[in-house]
């Protein structure tokens, strides 16, 4: 699904990703952990096509295609979804408009007709129940006045409605209370499928108790310095990152 080789990315002349390698096969869920400032969000943004980063070396293949050659909206329509660490508030743009526009953009891309308004609302309502979100949120501005936890749930709601091939969830667990964490994890788990891959960026082992990853990677100073199975997360929880810092040099 996703193959990253020797990725170097800089922002404002400062190199953040310094030769990153990562492979996420189809159907797998991978966790990326790492200290603050190590480049996790940068990786997620670069994959989603955020402007402002210069890719100085490396390749990224998504379903065998050169992902970096696509515009952000093309990536989204091809099935890349970024769940933001800090979801943006857009007052005046209605939540449900955005959802519908996003769905229709992807459908148009695949040569499908626009979604039926009634079916769409039925689907959205169902997913909202799953996310334990109040329906009144649909008619509000995108994330406008949402609490931190509500914003994260809204990200997952969008993911559930869009059903991406590759989901990049950047600290979707941070800011969630214990119940909300379960709701979000449950939402993510319902989307696990053989033809879908996920990358979870997280600081906490706790999320990984609910969403069991196939692989865990440690990102330090712009590179993946260690990969392992889920037990690596436990080890990180116990030992912190210090013992790995040397390996990033």
């Amino acid at each position: 699904m996703l193959t990253i080789k020797n990725l170097h990315a800089a922002v404002d002349g400062k190199e953040i990703l310094k030769g990153l390698d990562l492979q996420v096969p189809e159907g797998e869920v991978h966790a990326v952990m790492g200290p603050n400032g190590s480049g996790k969000s940068t990786l997620a943004h670069v994959l989603a096509g955020r402007p402002g980063y210069s890719i100085t070396a490396g390749t990224v293949l998504f379903k065998g295609r050169d992902l970096l050659a696509l515009s952000p909206e093309e990536r989204a329509r091809e099935g890349v979804f970024l769940g933001f660490q800090y979801p943006v508030e857009i007052p005046g743009v209605n939540n449900v408009y955005l959802l519908k526009a996003a769905v229709n953009a992807a459908r148009k891309h695949r040569g499908l007709p626009e979604v039926d308004a009634f079916e769409f609302l039925t689907l959205v309502r169902e997913k909202m129940r799953l996310m334990r979100m109040d329906e009144s949120m649909l008619s509000r501005g995108v994330n406008e006045g949402f609490s931190g936890g509500e914003k994260k749930r809204n990200e997952i709601l969008q993911m559930l409605v869009l059903e991406p091939a590759l989901a990049l969830l950047d600290e979707t667990d941070s800011g969630l209370d214990i119940d909300a964490l379960k709701v979000v994890a449950n939402g993510v788990n319902t989307l696990r499928a053989p033809n879908r891959s996920m990358v979870l960026v997280t600081h906490y082992q706790r999320l990984l108790e609910h969403i069991v990853p196939d692989r865990v990677h440690v990102l330090v100073k712009g590179r993946i310095v260690r990969s392992g199975d889920r037990t690596l997360a436990h080890e990180l929880e116990r030992r912190g990152y210090d013992w790995l810092l040397g390996e990033a040099a």
Binding site: P72, E73, A76, R77, F84, I90, V93, Y97, A101
Partner: protein
């Protein structure tokens, strides 16, 4: 503004004044208007309050009015239910409806007795263009609502058809509400798509105690038109004047508004949106003058400048000594779309008394990149994402349009203006 222009103005006036209707404005009053104007001079770009108006267009225009508007009317907007519609072509009444019960609607050109005209009222420091209107007006519409009349609606549609080289049009309106009266007015200025017309309107609003006027003003003149406008409102105690202005048309549009809050507790709500694209300039000057206790002003402006356009809003709030307990709010925001676009927002406060609450904010900026990327990351095309954000930006003003049918018309118009593709419309 050159002396040559004033000379031409006087010559043109000399040539046509004998034929101008006495019932609209008395000859003596017209002459005084011209004399005052010549003494004061026409507004010039070097003046602080006119910096953003393209006044050079006057050099190529004829001041004299279109005398016999010929042309055919374009397709008019859908009528609004419950509104009596009056249509004007190049400033003169073309078709009228039955006036709402109890309300007097009078076209002074055809129905006015000699001396029925009114003075614009020259207190407004920026009323010079209204003097020009006073001197040349060929028709005027007087609307009077008696005390405690049933709430009702009137729509005025001003169509500009003739090119400026042939003559100008001078819409002239008076809205007078007696105490406790309520009225909604929709005032539209439209034009033939390609006509480079010169429109110079003058509107006078008088609200007696407790009267409530909701006034929608939509300026959608043709892309080559020049639209000048002066509006003066006088508010008695507890009167409420709600003005909603949307300006998207004309090559050069300038509106000067002066609200005098003369009675205790009078309230002025101004919500304005302006859209500039190409080489357009959209300029609005609003002076809210607080003269009595507990008077209130709430001003909201949202402007978007694209291309090489300029959008300006100069909002001045003056609180006189007699106006203790005044409350005024200003929220001015501009959106710059493109490196050559220009926005100028000027909130001004002039306070001569204590015990006032004034808050104002003015910000101009570009589309928020985080918002834009968020929308792109959901698969929206860049054009659609931009239009959605612009739309959202105007929402603070558009949402205040209480008349659902009218709001839909405006939304459709704006959607068309904001996007070449119909995508946005489909979304809504």
């Amino acid at each position: 503004m050159s002396a040559a222009l004033l000379t031409r103005l006087q010559e043109e006036y000399g040539a046509v004044h004998a034929a101008l209707p006495e019932s609209v404005t008395a000859a003596k009053r017209r002459r005084e208007a011209i004399e005052t104007l010549c003494a004061q001079g026409l507004p010039a770009t070097r003046e602080e309050n006119w910096r953003y108006t393209n006044l050079r267009v006057l050099e190529r225009a004829r001041f004299s009015p279109v005398e016999d508007p010929a042309g055919t009317l374009p397709v008019l907007p859908e009528p609004l239910e419950g509104f009596a519609r009056y249509v004007f072509l190049d400033g003169q009444l073309r078709s009228s409806a039955a006036a709402p019960r109890g309300v007097t609607v009078c076209s002074l050109r055809s129905q006015g007795a000699a001396g029925a005209g009114w003075e614009f009222g020259a207190q407004l420091p920026e009323a010079r263009l209204a003097l020009l209107n006073e001197a040349f007006a060929t028709d005027a519409i007087a609307i009077e609502v008696p005390a405690d009349a049933e709430p009702c609606g009137i729509e005025l549609v001003f169509v500009a058809a003739t090119a400026a080289q042939q003559g100008a049009s001078y819409p002239r309106v008076r809205l007078a509400l007696q105490s406790g009266a309520r009225l909604s007015v929709v005032e539209r200025h439209i034009g033939l798509a390609d006509s480079a017309s010169l429109v110079n309107s003058a509107v006078r609003v008088e609200l007696a105690a407790n009267a409530h006027l909701t006034h929608y003003r939509l300026q959608h003149c043709g892309a080559r038109a020049v639209w000048f406008d002066t509006l003066a409102a006088q508010l008695a105690a507890e009167a409420h004047y709600e003005l909603l202005a949307v300006s998207t048309g004309a090559l050069t549009a300038r509106s000067s508004v002066h609200a005098r809050l003369a009675g205790a507790g009078a309230q002025f709500t101004l919500s304005a949106a302006a859209l500039g694209e190409g080489a357009q300039s959209q300029d609005m000057y609003a002076l809210s003058e607080h003269l009595a206790v507990r008077t209130r002003t709430a001003e909201t402006f949202r402007g978007i400048a694209s291309g090489r356009s300029r959008v300006a809003f100069n909002g001045k709030i003056a609180v006189r000594q007699s106006a203790r307990g005044t409350d005024s709010r200003q929220s001015l925001r501009g959106l710059l779309d493109g490196p050559e676009a220009e926005i100028d927002l000027r909130p001004q406060l002039e306070i001569y008394t204590d015990e006032v609450r004034c808050s104002h904010g003015a910000t101009a900026g570009k589309l928020d990149e985080n918002m834009l990327f968020y929308l792109l990351s959901r698969g929206l095309a860049p054009e659609v994402a931009e239009h959605l954000l612009k739309w959202a930006f105007l929402e603070d003003v558009i949402a205040r349009i209480g008349l659902a049918d009218l709001r839909r018309q405006i939304e459709r118009g704006l959607a068309g203006q904001l996007s070449e593709a119909a995508t946005l419309q489909e979304l809504l």
